[in-house]
């Protein structure tokens, strides 16, 4: 990732503003992710991506995703748009990759108070940058989703942006927890219909996070009991 991101940024930085530079960095991170999930896994891992609202662009939004594997972050490249992920602190500690994540403006939920998280998230959304969050915080150990942290839902409510549930399934063993070995299999990623602000404006943050959790849990159940 470092090699993909750094040279173009060094070349283009003098003739671009900060905002445009960040946009290029985030798009390059996305391309890097696509190389990983489309290229390196072929032909052993089958990847099925479905978008329930293909062709519709609802602008800056919050993607809420269930957390199954360390590959989840890479799979977000399938969205193919400028995004920032909400992550734990450990990705920032990965040499080079952590540096790129930091300059791309990824949000470290563990190290910033809610007020700061909310301010930075709101600024990103106002700039047209979508945010991806894994509100379980850590990987679910089985198909039952863990309880959600509501911080990102409060941000979405304040910014009045759509919330798009993203359901991942099949990658819990690709790779399994504690391993880096990719086992053959099928990964499904489904971008579910957006919850518009109009549809959730009367919800409390608690109700909203649980509503989205129910949507994702139903989808996981549908796939994994089939």
């Amino acid at each position: 990732m470092f090699l993909i991101v750094t040279p173009p940024v060094i070349v283009l930085r003098p003739c671009m503003g900060r905002r445009q530079t960040l946009r290029v960095i985030r798009i390059l991170i996305c391309w890097y992710g696509l190389i990983i999930v489309r290229g390196l896994t072929f032909p052993f891992v089958r990847l099925i991506y479905t978008d329930d609202e293909a062709g519709q662009d609802c602008g800056a939004c919050v993607y809420v995703c269930n957390h199954r594997s360390s590959s989840d972050g890479f799979l977000m490249a399938l969205l193919n748009r400028e995004v920032v992920q909400v992550v734990n602190n450990w990705p920032f500690k990965i040499p080079l990759m952590g540096w790129v994540a930091r300059i791309a403006g990824y949000l470290s939920i563990r190290t910033m108070p809610f007020e700061e998280f909310s301010k930075k998230s709101s600024e990103l959304l106002a700039q047209g940058v979508s945010i991806i969050a894994f509100p379980e915080g850590s990987r679910s150990v089985d198909k039952t989703l863990q309880q959600f942290n509501g911080a990102i839902f409060r941000v979405a409510q304040a910014a009045r942006v759509p919330i798009i549930p993203l359901c991942l399934s099949g990658n819990q063993t690709i790779p399994a927890k504690g391993s880096v070995v990719l086992t053959p299999g099928t990964i499904r990623v489904r971008k579910l219909p957006a919850l518009t602000w109009e549809s959730y404006q009367d919800f409390s943050a608690f109700k909203l996070k649980n509503r989205v959790r129910e949507i994702l849990q139903a989808e996981v159940n549908r796939w994994e009991s089939a």
Binding site: F148, G150, A151, S204, F206
Partner: protein, 87 residues
């Protein structure tokens, strides 16, 4: 106010503020793991409890020790016994 009345009033707070079904509101229910509250929801809970019982508990360190719904009942009962809850 006895424990039964406190239990009912606390459960009312959870039903109204968090829309949690009454059958889930058991004394042993864990506030975070089972009922699904997070640290931000706890702030909302404290505000709702303060309003319901007309007490100031925001700065009370004992709030941090709460793990189950039963802990909340006992906490309010303690406040009652200490004379902090108006009759």
């Amino acid at each position: 106010m006895n424990l039964e009345q406190i239990t009912k009033m606390v459960n009312d707070v959870f039903s109204v503020s968090f829309e949690i079904a009454p059958e889930r509101l058991k004394s042993e229910a864990k506030v975070f793991e089972e009922l699904g509250l997070d640290s931000l929801d706890v702030v909302d809970l404290v505000v709702a409890l303060q309003k319901k019982f007309k007490v100031q508990i925001r700065d009370d360190d004992r709030v941090r020790q709460i793990r189950t719904l039963g802990d909340i009942y006992q906490f309010i009962l303690t406040l009652e016994n200490e004379g902090h809850v108006p009759a």
